[in-house]
């Protein structure tokens, strides 16, 4: 097995994924002068600021106008630019989905949609801002790549990879700090899933902030005598079918884990794959057709049944 250069749990860091995006965008800007950035009055919050300061002539402030942001980006891409648009996911793609479909995805322009403050890690901002539907919405859009990085270091790599990808891309980011598990040497490629922890009894497919919870649960379960394989699946679309099917061939039991609506996201993608190629029992874990609410990320993760202990319970359930 390839060494993924992951950190031991005791050495995990802590940083919001949006910080990694901010660093990655500056690097992408240095690597390619066609990279430009657009923001809708959230420059600091969504971490566009480092790019805007370094390349002011390549930054466009559109004001609080997310529909305009992505359509302007479409026009810039028409003239050879690689535009990164960033706002909160609740507004982009939450408010401007049709403009993304028509002027970016159907129009086939390589615009990069960055949805920050997605998921329960948006914490105290409450249900209006905890975008949980973004993964499902973007996954249904033909020609769109959907990426949910597991930590800030991976978000940085994903950003640089997106600048080189010719397709429209969506990148989901979180507001609050989450564990940093990977290192500069850990591989990342769009469309690849990675076995972060090998096992033989049960497969957990997770992404975003949930991968760290899956790894912690797998550790504890090993002491309970259950050998869990954790697949980190940052690209929801296109899905890495081979990595998932190879694991499932061995374990015959699957749990999917995501911090998003359970309808249409990673769990749905995995179930669609397995239903057609290798039907095995699956438990999907995610937010179950509900809206979020104000609270700390920890309180919310626990309330919506996505904590380490919840994962362990479900693994025991499926392992029998």
């Amino acid at each position: 097995m390839t060494d993924l250069h992951l950190l031991d749990h005791k050495d995990w860091g802590s940083e919001p994924t949006r910080k990694g995006f901010g660093r990655g965008l500056v690097q992408a800007g240095e690597e390619n002068e066609q990279v430009v950035a657009l923001c809708a009055d959230l420059t600091g919050s969504v971490q566009i600021e480092p790019f805007a300061k370094k390349f002011p002539e390549r930054f466009v402030e559109v004001g609080i106008a997310e529909q305009n942001m992505v359509t302007v980006a479409s026009g810039m891409a028409h003239q050879g630019k690689i535009p990164f648009t960033a706002s909160y996911a609740a507004f982009s793609p939450g408010r401007n989905w049709e403009q993304i479909k028509t002027t970016v995805a159907l129009n086939d322009q390589p615009v990069k949609i960055i949805g920050a403050h997605a998921g329960l890690y948006t914490g105290p901002d409450g249900a209006t801002h905890q975008m949980l539907e973004d993964v499902s919405l973007m996954r249904t859009m033909p020609n769109m790549v959907v990426i949910v990085p597991g930590d800030s270091v991976e978000a940085e790599k994903a950003t640089r990879a997106m600048a080189k990808d010719k397709r429209p891309n969506y990148l989901r980011l979180a507001r609050d700090k989450s564990p940093v598990m990977t290192t500069a040497e850990t591989p990342f490629e769009i469309g690849k899933a990675y076995v972060f922890s090998p096992g033989k009894d049960v497969t957990i497919v997770a992404n975003g902030t949930m991968t760290s919870i899956a790894l912690q649960a797998a550790d504890a379960l090993f002491h309970d005598g259950i050998d869990v394989e954790v697949i980190h699946c940052p690209t929801v679309k296109p899905l890495d079918n081979a990595t998932i099917l190879t694991s499932v061939k061995k374990t015959r039991k699957v749990i999917t884990l995501e911090e998003a609506q359970i309808n249409g996201g990673l769990g749905s993608a995995v179930c669609e794959l397995l239903a057609e190629h290798d039907p095995v029992p699956v438990i999907r874990m995610g937010v179950k057709d509900q809206y979020g609410q104000t609270g700390t990320p920890e309180e919310l993760i626990d309330h919506y049944g996505l904590s380490k202990k919840h994962v362990m319970t479900k693994v025991h359930e499926i392992a029998g």
Binding site: G75, M76, N107
Partner: protein, 302 residues
């Protein structure tokens, strides 16, 4: 480097005849398709003729020529006039016009950039074209291209969309004066007159309040369109909006000014005052061919 298509200058009379040809093509296309929009495309024929046959630098044999001016159709439902203008300009064989809205046609019901070379933007859902023009202009500025122009046609009903005014503000903020916006002010939309559905007036004052220079013209006068666009290129301190007053259904008596023809093709709709459905195309084409009886010795056939 492709030659500039419009080095061949045409007289105003020639351009008026071209607009008339384009109108006849629109009527034939819509009758064949059995669906689509009539009033807007007929009303826009003079503006599209002026743009494609006089104003814009472009090369139909090299649609990707990187020095070309850009035409952005924001109200994509007016696709028939765009296709007819492009075919007459030489982007593709005119025979293909008869495939409008048919399975596997490059002439999709609403224009798609990936479907037909020469289409700059995919449109249909309203309110997005002006933003795309803004993005094109921002990129041109970053690339230090000051010699290219962007012409964006929007509907007037389309101005109901908030996205348009987001673009209007942004274009004024960055003074993207290489964009000339032409509002097709034909006063109709699907549900009725614009002033009934959602009043737009004082439209001139609205654009001016947003920091734009406004020129009002008769949008069915080819020469007026050419002159206004020339003036727009000369004005650099503000972006320019040309409010082009047009007659919806222009050239076909029974359609003119009647909002019922907004979303209807000829040969399908039983509209009061119109000929029977199976006569509609014939009547319209005869009227256009004879230029309303001005050409007396008419003995052409459909």
């Amino acid at each position: 480097m492709p030659t500039n298509y419009n080095e061949k200058t045409r007289s105003i009379e020639d351009l008026e005849l071209m607009a008339n040809t384009i109108r006849q093509d629109i009527v034939k296309m819509l009758e064949k398709a059995g669906s689509g929009h009539s009033a807007g495309p007929l009303g826009l024929a003079d503006i599209l003729t002026a743009l494609y046959f006089d104003i814009m630098q472009h090369d139909p044999k090299h649609p990707e020529w990187d020095e070309r001016d850009l035409f952005v159709l924001s109200n994509g439902h007016c696709a028939p006039v765009l296709y007819a203008a492009m075919a007459n300009a030489g982007y593709f064989d005119k025979k293909e016009l008869s495939t409008l809205r048919q399975f596997k046609s490059r002439l999709q019901g609403h224009p798609e950039r990936k479907s037909l070379p020469g289409i700059e933007n995919t449109s249909g859902p309203l309110g997005s074209g002006l933003s795309q023009a803004a993005g094109m202009a921002l990129a041109m500025n970053m690339n230090n291209e000051s010699h290219r122009w962007i012409y964006c046609v929007t509907g007037d009903g389309e101005l109901n969309e908030g996205n348009i005014w987001e673009a209007v503000m942004l274009i004024a903020k960055y003074n993207l004066h290489q964009i000339t916006t032409i509002v097709d002010r034909n006063n109709i939309q699907i549900d009725g007159t614009t002033e009934h559905v959602m009043p737009l007036e004082d439209l001139r004052a609205k654009w001016e309040a947003f920091g734009w220079h406004v020129i009002e013209i008769d949008g069915n006068d080819v020469e007026a369109v050419i002159d206004a666009c020339a003036m727009a290129r000369a004005i650099v301190e503000k972006p320019v909006c040309i409010i082009a007053h047009t007659i919806p259904g222009k050239g076909v008596d029974y359609m003119e000014y009647d909002y019922h023809w907004h979303g209807m093709p000829v040969g399908l709709a039983d509209v009061a005052g119109a000929p029977p459905v199976d006569e509609q195309a014939k009547v319209a084409l005869k009227e256009l061919r004879t230029m309303r009886g001005k050409i007396k010795n008419e003995h052409g056939h459909d």
